[in-house]
């Protein structure tokens, strides 16, 4: 049996989350979500429920023609089902921080910036938070800076918001009413206690806690033979490291 990489397991898990989507968009610096979306697209190729995947940093997988604002307009129009957001920090109420740690504006450690999160998080129905590193410094009690809030009061237009958080250790769902995360799946390489210790916020445990599903041989075959070459086009560094080294 071939060795399966951790990143491939996460790609596979994310792919499962895209089941009923019609259109998934992938923003900046998101090779793992991008691979997952292309995988889901490939697997549904011969079904009636086609999946459109828009990868902003690709020429080929980007069918927008109204300039770089079209992603945001189309999302606001409700035409994008799923989008991914990351975070330097993510807290227990699903607030995300893409700006940096320390006290704003003179931060201790500055990161790139909020990108489109402050709109996308409000309007895309299924936002999947993705941060590979799962440690108390990434998953925190309270973010130092809110790039986009996890929840909003009723007088704010908010058809969208966080649905899942996935890391290299676990998959969480988010409950908007209770304003908390619940663990759904765990990477079999870690114990629940280890996950709790690595998480800066409290989350709801789960009696039916499952393990990350190992991707089937068929899925791995598709991923390595059909998806990897595509990813090489627009995330060359990532694809080379994982598949072509």
């Amino acid at each position: 049996m071939t060795e399966i990489f951790q990143s491939e397991i996460i790609i596979s898990e994310i792919s499962n989350l895209l089941k009923d989507d019609k259109h998934v968009a992938i923003g900046a610096a998101s090779p793992i979500p991008g691979s997952a979306a292309l995988l889901a697209q490939e697997e549904r190729k011969n079904t009636n429920l086609k999946l459109q995947v828009t990868i902003l940093h690709s020429q080929k997988f980007n069918n927008f023609t109204d300039g770089s604002r079209e992603l945001f307009d189309a999302s606001a129009q409700g035409r994008i089902d799923t989008f991914f957001l990351g975070g330097v920090q993510i807290d227990g109420e699903a607030n995300i921080n893409l700006v940096g740690t320390g006290r704003y504006p003179k931060l201790d450690k500055r990161f790139s910036g909020s990108f489109g999160s402050a709109l996308m998080y409000f309007v895309v129905p299924k936002i999947i938070l993705f941060r590979e590193e799962h440690t108390p410094r990434t998953l925190v009690k309270k973010v130092d800076f809110i790039s986009a809030p996890g929840i909003s009061p009723p007088n704010i237009y908010r058809p969208g918001g966080p649905k899942y958080l996935i890391t290299n250790k676990a998959l969480f769902s988010f409950n908007k009413k209770k304003k908390n995360f619940k663990i759904e799946k765990i990477n079999p390489e870690f114990t629940l206690n280890e996950v709790i210790k690595s998480t800066g916020f409290e989350f709801k445990t789960n009696k039916n806690l499952k393990y990350f599903t190992m991707p089937s041989q068929k899925r791995i075959h598709i991923l390595r033979n059909l998806i990897a070459p595509k990813v090489l086009n627009f995330y060359p560094q990532f694809a080379k490291k994982l598949w072509f080294n």
Binding site: A28, A29, H57, Q59, F64, T65, D66, G67, S68, R69, L71, F72, D73, A76, L98, V99, G100, Y104, P105, K106, L107, D108, K109, R110, F111, S112, G113, S114, F115, G116, S117, A118, L119, M120, Y121, F122, V123, F145, I146, S147, A148, P149, S152, P153, P154, N155, I156, Y157, Y235, P236, Q237, F238
Partner: protein, 279 residues
């Protein structure tokens, strides 16, 4: 013979005055690197960068070279090559002001100028620390009763008028029309800018408006104040259908830019090498 103002890359850089508000295209929209180097050589000061919606090596170089006073952006990053080190350093040590924004807000502020309206409404944003740190943004009660959200609060953003926009594109025609393809954010930038200068890979002996297909991919000369030929003008960034990003140079830069000293050394080399042969 061309029927437009053909100028040099150096001339374009001279139009970038100290303290002006300079439009910065994203890495996918044609980064005018050849002009950027000339701006740095001119020791231009106090620039305010308006990024649509982000910048990579161009912004980082300008910041590291001390040309920048303020930046309004949704992100500064070297993408797959990591964080933007000179930007990070400038923020962490309060060397420049930052107006942290989000992509759709940067678009909307220019669209307001495009329509000559004083502001644009935008959903989202509220509840973020972006909003809390922007005193040029405000919130109003939605004056329309066409929303399902009761007593809705909505952000309004001011129109932003750029002083000057510079970008790099593939082709200009003999009448000064510029091929921008699908990069329509360049049209928004141009519409909202007082002056627009463009560097191109080639000037072709035709008029894009003779073909409807080419016309659809064109920024009309009406918005363009001057064009310069600049082969590889986006290097080390890429240009669609012409060349890919130079991964070796980008890695080299990402590494050198980590410290001011090594950045300065890199820039000395970069400038002396005269990478843009036809300047």
């Amino acid at each position: 013979m061309v029927n437009f103002t053909q100028i040099t890359v150096k001339d374009i850089a001279k139009e970038v005055k100290d303290n002006c508000l300079l439009g910065i295209p994203a890495d996918y929209s044609g980064v005018p690197m050849s002009v950027t180097i000339e701006i740095i050589k001119n020791k231009t000061k106090g620039l305010r960068l308006y990024c649509l919606p982000l910048t990579t090596i161009q912004g980082d170089m300008l910041i590291g070279s001390g040309c920048v006073n303020e930046i309004e952006t949704a992100a500064v990053t070297l993408g797959e090559y990591g964080q933007a080190p000179r930007f990070q350093d400038a923020i962490e040590n309060s060397k420049i002001n930052i107006k942290d924004s989000t992509c759709p807000a940067l678009h909307a502020q220019l669209q307001a100028t495009e329509k000559s309206v004083p502001f644009m409404p935008l959903r989202g944003i509220l509840g973020s620390d972006l909003y809390n740190n922007r005193n040029d943004w405000s919130v109003i009660d939605n004056p329309m009763n066409n929303s399902n959200t009761n007593d809705e609060k909505i952000v309004i953003l001011p129109a932003v008028q750029l002083d000057i926009l510079i970008f790099h594109a593939s082709k200009a025609d003999i009448n000064g029309n510029v091929q921008i393809g699908r990069r329509r954010e360049l049209a928004t930038l141009a519409h909202a800018s007082k002056k627009v200068y463009v560097t191109v890979e080639e000037i072709v002996d035709e008029d894009f408006f003779d073909s409807e297909l080419k016309a659809a991919a064109t920024l009309p000369s009406l918005y363009v104040d001057g064009i310069s030929l600049a082969k590889n003008g986006a290097w080390p960034c890429g240009l669609t259908d012409y060349y890919d990003i130079d991964t070796i140079e980008m890695s080299k830069y990402a590494n050198a830019a980590k410290y001011q000293e090594t950045f300065d050394e890199y820039m000395r080399d970069f400038i002396s090498q005269n990478n843009y042969s036809n300047i």
